[in-house]
């Protein structure tokens, strides 16, 4: 087993997911199965092969075309920005107080 229950809990914590007991067991099994499969990447020698984070073809995501002068432009606006808020006071999003654990 590559991943143990402790690891699942740790990763769930990082991902802000409150897993149920049943979920934990299922995910443990699934993660191990998938990680076993992806382990085949270690069959390949990738010394001196640069990582490819994005498709950097000529033109696609080209830095020059992606930049613009730093001038303020109209953006979404407060009302549309708040329209889907679960809880708001009309100005801000309201959330429970942050309480020290």
């Amino acid at each position: 087993m590559r991943v143990g229950e402790k690891d699942v809990l740790y990763v769930a914590d990082l991902a802000n997911l409150e897993l149920t007991e049943a979920e934990r067991a299922r995910l443990l099994r699934d993660l191990n199965s998938i990680l076993d499969y992806v382990n085949r990447l270690n069959e390949l020698d990738t010394t001196d092969v640069p990582p490819m984070a994005a498709v950097a073809e000529a033109g696609a995501g080209d830095a020059a075309s992606a930049m613009r002068p730093d001038e303020p432009r109209p953006s979404l606006g407060r009302a549309p920005g708040l329209q889907n808020a679960p809880e708001t006071d009309g100005t801000f999003f309201k959330v429970p107080k942050v309480i020290d654990k």
Binding site: L19, Y37, L44, V49, P51
Partner: protein, 480 residues
């Protein structure tokens, strides 16, 4: 007017020639959706007010004798991962169950400005994660060709509606095959453009370096018509390409004689259903008859593509889905005692199982101690995959493969085994990882009457060539 056989081309012509009003078309399609979509469940939300308002505008222009925009009156559906202002958009998830976007995605806006009638939103796998549309929080989509089978995913609703004739065309999205695979399973055309060809602004993000927006249509010509409208640089998407958009319709009618077609050995090995193999080999013979030069090639790192994809895509997804925290939009768990509990419960209560699985896998792959072993390793192998294609495209102009290893499988058949589900993507993922364009076109049926698709991949920004071969083949096949 037989609605099921309408194409983008014939619909727009009928409206332009005043044979039918846009309003009549919209109403006809809404009646058809009501009468036929229940067993299929391709449609999630209908935007009648918006569609009929647009139709009325078009009819007013038509009445005055004014010129009409290029897609005037064409009834379309939009995958529910694309933002449509004021029209409920859920990404197939409970976490966005009541979400009303404050803006339109760019591809959506361009279609509407071109006159298309956006009838509603298409069912899809949650956050575009899936290959069967069984991961939708709103219930699965069924394949119109066989209601006991899946339509494919994640753009299952988009493909099913076109196959069923309840939309003339739809927009889908493709991250690991989600346009091409359902198109193959449903017997329709699905085009994934080059990464950056179509703006991702307004596409609810799954994996930012892999997501693509593209059309699902009845014909290749229709795919070209829609691509013409949605392609092009968008300042709102920093990854959108500044490459000029060619005249696709001008390109696709050119002959294919002399086109070099590469056939990669790795896509014809173990796991490929013999009937799919037969249909794709017949398609290659047809292409040879059209004057193409069919050349065996090798894409040696193909067996590693799924592993790369399920690390890269899940890693990017874990980051993109961090925004669903119950603060600004979406589901918020009731009565949380702390902020932390609000985050954790909102996400756990409203995300589906597959989404959670992928977020956890991605988080793990990026976490301290594992980042190099998984994420960085996968990115290096991604470079090797890109090099395979660079090498191949020195010898050939396009690469032709099966789109899927099998025809559509039965609902429920693969839900218990995520890995088995993932292996469906084996012929489609590499194109997403490398960014090249690809199309799936129907090439026959299995002995059970299930559609089979053939995939054509091209060089970056050579959609014209891909469409040209696809159209020539489609035309030749219609003569058989």
């Amino acid at each position: 007017m037989d609605l099921s056989s309408l194409t983008v081309e014939s619909a727009r012509r009928a409206v332009a020639e005043r044979q039918v009003t846009a309003t009549a078309l919209a109403e006809d399609f809404y009646r058809k959706i009501a009468a036929e979509d229940v067993p299929i469940h391709a449609w999630l939300t209908l935007s009648k007010e918006r569609a009929l308002a647009r139709a009325a505008e078009i009819d007013r222009l038509a009445g005055k004798g004014d010129p009409l925009p290029p897609l005037a009156g064409v009834p379309m559906g939009i995958k529910d991962v694309l933002m449509t202002r004021g029209v409920r958009t859920t990404a197939g998830s409970k976490i966005l169950g009541g979400f009303l976007p404050p803006y339109d995605g760019t591809a959506v806006r361009r279609l509407e400005e071109a006159g298309a009638l956006l009838l509603g939103k298409m069912n899809c796998d949650e956050f575009a994660m899936g290959s069967s549309n069984e991961n939708s929080a709103w219930g699965p989509v069924r394949n119109p060709r066989d209601l006991t089978r899946v339509p494919g995913g994640s753009s299952g609703g988009s493909a099913a509606a076109v196959a069923a004739g309840t939309a003339v065309a739809t927009l889908g999205s493709d991250t690991g095959g989600s346009i091409r695979q359902p198109a193959a399973f449903c017997g329709v055309v699905g085009l994934m453009p080059t990464y950056g060809r179509v703006s991702r602004y307004g596409l609810i993000a799954f994996a930012s370096s892999l997501d693509h927006v593209g059309p699902i249509t009845r014909t290749v010509r229709d795919a070209a018509l829609l691509l013409q409208v949605i392609a092009g640089h968008d300042p709102l998407d920093s990854t959108s390409a500044a490459v000029p958009v060619p005249d696709y319709l001008g390109e696709i009618d050119k002959p294919v004689k002399g086109l070099r077609v590469g056939v990669p050995a790795e896509y014809f090995g173990e796991g490929l259903d013999p009937e799919v193999r037969g249909a794709v080999e017949a398609a290659l013979q047809e292409m040879a008859k059209l004057g193409c030069e069919v050349v065996p090639i090798s894409l040696p790192h193909t067996p590693y593509a799924i592993a790369v994809y399920y690390i890269v895509a899940t890693a990017e997804a874990s980051s993109n889905l961090a925004r669903y925290d119950g603060v600004r939009y979406g589901y918020r768990a009731p009565d949380p005692r702390t902020l932390s509990e609000m985050y954790r419960r909102s996400r756990d209560e409203a995300f589906g199982a597959e989404v959670k699985r992928r977020i956890l896998l991605g988080t793990y792959a990026l976490s301290a101690g594992y980042y190099d072993a998984y994420y960085l390793k996968a990115q290096r192998v991604r470079t090797l995959l890109a090099r395979d294609f660079e090498q191949a495209f020195r010898a050939v102009d396009v690469v032709v493969t099966p789109t899927t290893p099998t025809p559509a499988f039965k609902l429920g058949e693969k839900v218990e085994d995520p890995l088995a589900m993932y292996l469906n993507d084996i012929y489609t993922v590499t194109a997403d990882l490398v960014g090249v364009p690809g199309i799936s076109v129907p090439c026959g049926n299995s002995s059970q009457g299930l559609p089979i698709g053939v995939q054509i991949l091209g060089r970056h920004f050579e959609e014209g060539t891909v469409l040209r071969l696809a159209q020539a083949y489609e035309h030749a096949r219609s003569q058989i």
